[in-house]
Subunit: 214 residues, 2 copies
DNA sequence: GCAAATTCTGCCGAAAAGGCAAAAATACCT
DNA sequence: AGGTATTTTTGCCTTTTCGGCAGAATTTGC
């Protein structure tokens, strides 16, 4: 096994990040259809063939960040204090990875890049599929984390798989809601509302005062 | 607006079905990589260009049945008796469309095609994304149906969108579970367990007697 | 340094993807 | 029926994607 901290691995991570970043940047700038893999490779100073060694296509390059982000949710759930209720851990984990502390004002550049990328993702149908695949690919890891936490079997029991799927679905709905909202909405409260409803069994919203769960 | 029952529309549906069927058949027979669009078009007696008028690619052609099936769930939810609890309607609708009455024996040919298609979709990684996209594309319609049923707003309220996403996630988990089970498992009970847990707020399964909820 | 393993790269052909306009089929009106 | 409008099918075309292959270049461990 190659040393994961050697020069080679570091360069690989750099190239990977550069390609993903270049893809997002070019697509934001020119629009999805007006960017070829050749352009991206040139912008990242590698050959077209090398791009293909890293990613299957433009979409995958853009979604790469989302995959890492989602996988980190599983880690956070595993690392949560043992006594904490499962749903609390879930909300914290999702929030920590999709709505970093500084939120909107403290211009976390990485978060800004991610936000731009996601907006693109939702615009182009070819990218929606990739986002979905990213969620799905993290689902197994998520299910294992939930199984760890609840003492269930990630292979044979339905419970952890169902919870993992619901985490993905709930996160997606919350993010999409904030992204499509006319006024910029912070993700945190929406996430709490979504998972609050889920943990309550999705009862019909009461007529009183809209459904701003709070 | 073209008459939907005219000859033209009927032929279009026929061509569409023939292409989807030919794609599934050829892919099952030769394997995903060994089928070109040219093969499919030839098998369906249309030009390659016509195939592309109907579907963006092999994957979409295979998933077409799944899309229709999912859209019909929305219709069923709309058509359910007004007094019936929402979750009851949902379980009925999903079950009706993914596990037809006669179950295995009453060979609904369309159902057979769908089943083959789904098997393919889950087997080949290149196709899993298409299943996800199929679910997502039906999500909006599902949300509108739920909104109709619950008097919520499909645009601004989170509730209908969340329920729609959960229906998709729950169905997928149930189907996947049955497909991956070593012993052939009927979908109905699994579906009821999944949505039972969801309506209960996904409480941790009790230690007693496995997790066969309900 | 040196040998082994790994990655990068150019070259290649098969396939996909989609714009365009002529041809064919269907619909609709008189 | 006949004629016209609309829609679908088709062929032709270019550009881009996709991935196998082998040699060059780089990194690693010794």
């Amino acid at each position: 096994m190659p040393n994961s901290s050697g020069l080679r691995e570091r360069k690989k991570r750099q190239t990977r990040a550069a390609l993903s970043l270049a893809t997002i940047g070019l697509c934001l700038e020119r629009g999805w259809d007006n960017v070829t893999i050749e352009d991206i490779a040139a912008a990242a100073n590698v050959s077209v063939r090398t791009f293909r060694n890293y990613f299957a296509g433009k979409a995958e390059a853009i979604a790469a960040g989302h995959v890492e982000r989602t996988l980190r949710i599983a880690d956070d759930i595993r690392a949560a204090p043992a006594g904490e209720p499962l749903w609390t851990s879930i909300v914290h984990a999702v929030q920590a990875n999709f709505a970093p502390a500084g939120s909107a004002d403290a211009g976390e550049e990485e978060f800004g890049r991610w936000r731009d990328g996601v907006r693109l993702l939702f615009a182009e149908p070819a990218l929606q599929g990739e986002l979905l695949k990213a969620n799905a690919s993290a689902q197994d890891e998520l299910a294992r984390a939930v199984a760890d936490r609840t003492g269930t079997d990630p292979e044979h029991d339905i419970y952890p798989k169902l919870v993992a799927a619901v985490i993905g679905a709930g996160s997606t709905v919350a993010i999409e809601h904030c992204l499509h909202a006319e006024s910029p909405t912070p993700l945190g409260p929406v996430l709490r509302e979504v998972f609050g409803r889920l943990a309550a069994g999705l009862p019909l919203p009461t007529e009183s005062g809209e459904n701003s769960g709070h």
